[in-house]
Symmetry: none
Subunit: 195 residues, 4 copies
């Protein structure tokens, strides 16, 4: 349907080099000190070309994250009883949250950007909910199977479960050890066990 998509392979090559370089620099410097000039220098792609493809640093970095994640196995949906599946999801979240080159380290910027811009305010819940949805899905499954009470608000419960992890990360409290997550789940989840 789209008349001329991206026939020119140079576009894709440039994109690749830039995202590669951005990923490297993100790991080396983090988000704040990363500069478009540095990306241009490292990638050998001209600044003008970068701006031709991305609207700015935020867009570029967001894209670089996607690029990095595309190359990884998409988080496998864990099988088993609800409680174990919840634990698995949260453990994965804890790991992501601690890593330097994951979406997690963009979240602070995202939060602040959402505060100042209509666009970002609209985009933020979208991006976050996408990730959060997997947990809600697991909980919904639990409701369906009767492992969880039918009257619970699974969205709310998901936030209550992720809250401790996310808040610790955002406020730079000591990070939560994935090994402690079963205990956390057991404290919060059982309240909702089907009765």
């Amino acid at each position: 349907m789209r008349p001329r998509d991206d026939k020119d392979p140079r576009i894709e090559r440039s994109r690749g080099c830039v995202l590669e370089a951005t990923g490297e620099l993100l790991q080396e410097l983090g988000y704040g000190p990363l500069t478009i000039e540095a990306v241009a220098a490292r990638s050998g792609v001209a600044k003008s070309t970068i701006y031709r493809h991305w609207s700015g640093k935020a867009a570029l970095v967001a894209d670089a994250f996607s690029h990095l994640h595309d190359r990884e196995a998409p988080a496998a949906p864990p099988p088993g009883p609800v409680r174990d599946r919840v634990v698995a999801v949260l453990q994965q979240l804890a790991i992501d949250m601690a890593s330097h080159d994951r979406l997690a380290c963009l979240i602070p910027a995202l939060i602040d950007a959402a505060e100042r811009s209509e666009e970002m305010a609209a985009l933020a819940p979208q991006l976050v909910d996408e990730r959060a949805q997997s947990l809600v899905d697991v909980l919904d499954d639990g409701v369906k199977t009767g492992d969880l009470r039918p009257d619970i608000d699974t969205r709310l419960l998901a936030d209550a479960l992720t809250g401790p992890l996310v808040l610790a990360r955002l406020f730079h409290r000591p990070p939560i050890d994935p090994a402690d997550i079963p205990a956390i789940v057991d404290q919060i989840l059982p309240r909702t066990a089907g009765g």
Copy 2:
């Protein structure tokens, strides 16, 4: 606080103006776009004077947060049964986060700042924990009175309770109506009777 023999009142005056202006600008712009130049313009204090007192943006912002924090009266702990006290604390939190003149409404800026500056990363948990403590205290009381089971981690529970509120605020999901907070508490708060 400290028995300084600051003879020259100009020092304290400058400090005050600058911290005031910094607080305002943090709210308007957030951490990233905040510039020392803008602080100087807004406060009427010369840039050189700002650098005379603070080593840079990070130190200034950290100080501004502390300053704002100091001037907020610690919310009086409400009386009554645990569940109602928790509800009251969370309702106050919901109100604070939506307001325009409280430290709580600077949380997005604080999160972003903590991500980019060592000083703020160290300060953030301090500021946040102090606020969070009131809820933990209420829960601890509940444990003492036997309204809550003795085996719970009150710190964790506090995060689970505030999580939904804070996350909704940060990610610009539809704001939570204070009227809904009792329902939220009832879903998450485990009471001795298990009901």
Copy 3:
């Protein structure tokens, strides 16, 4: 002059604007109070662009002097007997020094600049000597024709002749009337016949 393959015409345009503005400001302010900032404002060229082309104020001013020097047509040497030619040259000098749009009227700025910058210290004698040469040439001709004694140092004599004019101008003594120049020349210029 140099066969540069400067494809981008903006470079030359910027250079021109900046040198123009620098010349103007040198005349108005002199070397000391001249500011790169002011040059940028006057020329409409960004400060960063100026620093892209020149290493600093000294280099810029040196270039501005060369630029002004290049555009001044070398005054045609007057014909006639030596004494009259000397008078003519000095009268032209007197006029130039009093004017507002000639390099000669920038001599005060040049002297000060030469005192404070290596570049200008190297350039100054170059600029000045080139102008002085025309008088030396006239005197050399006089020696050749026998109008002047062959044992004189024409360079020295040229300085002795211009000295009164230049010193009066520099030290703001009452200016010398061009009509008085013949008398001056007659006192200082040694002719073969001995006066």
Copy 4:
């Protein structure tokens, strides 16, 4: 007659320290890089005190020169025949002109300042003429004794004689060796020998 001149000895002590330090720094740095802050630091005298006594860098430096010269033997008026006395005066001038810590190195600043300020324009000839007068006096003596023709303009002649030295200095041409001065005098002076 003056009611209370400077009874307070601290004033004189401060003045001394400052002038001392200024002299030292002038020799070390020259006029351009010399800073009032540096003078204050070196002398141990507060900046405010310096500004209480002098209007600025130029005035301070001028004063420092006077102070330095006051401690030296005032140039002895040379005896003997006119020609030798002229040579002696010019040789002293040549030496002064070459030294770093004499009035000579203020002259470029003086010239430029005179160009921009009424005050300085009035002051400049005064300061310079004071020094030039000794040569004019010598020449006037020569006229009186009949060694020089009575119809010469001694002021003009003095400028012609000093011109080569002064111009070489101001335009950073190679400095004139005092040993060459007799030859210079002999080329310019004889024209005016009494006939």
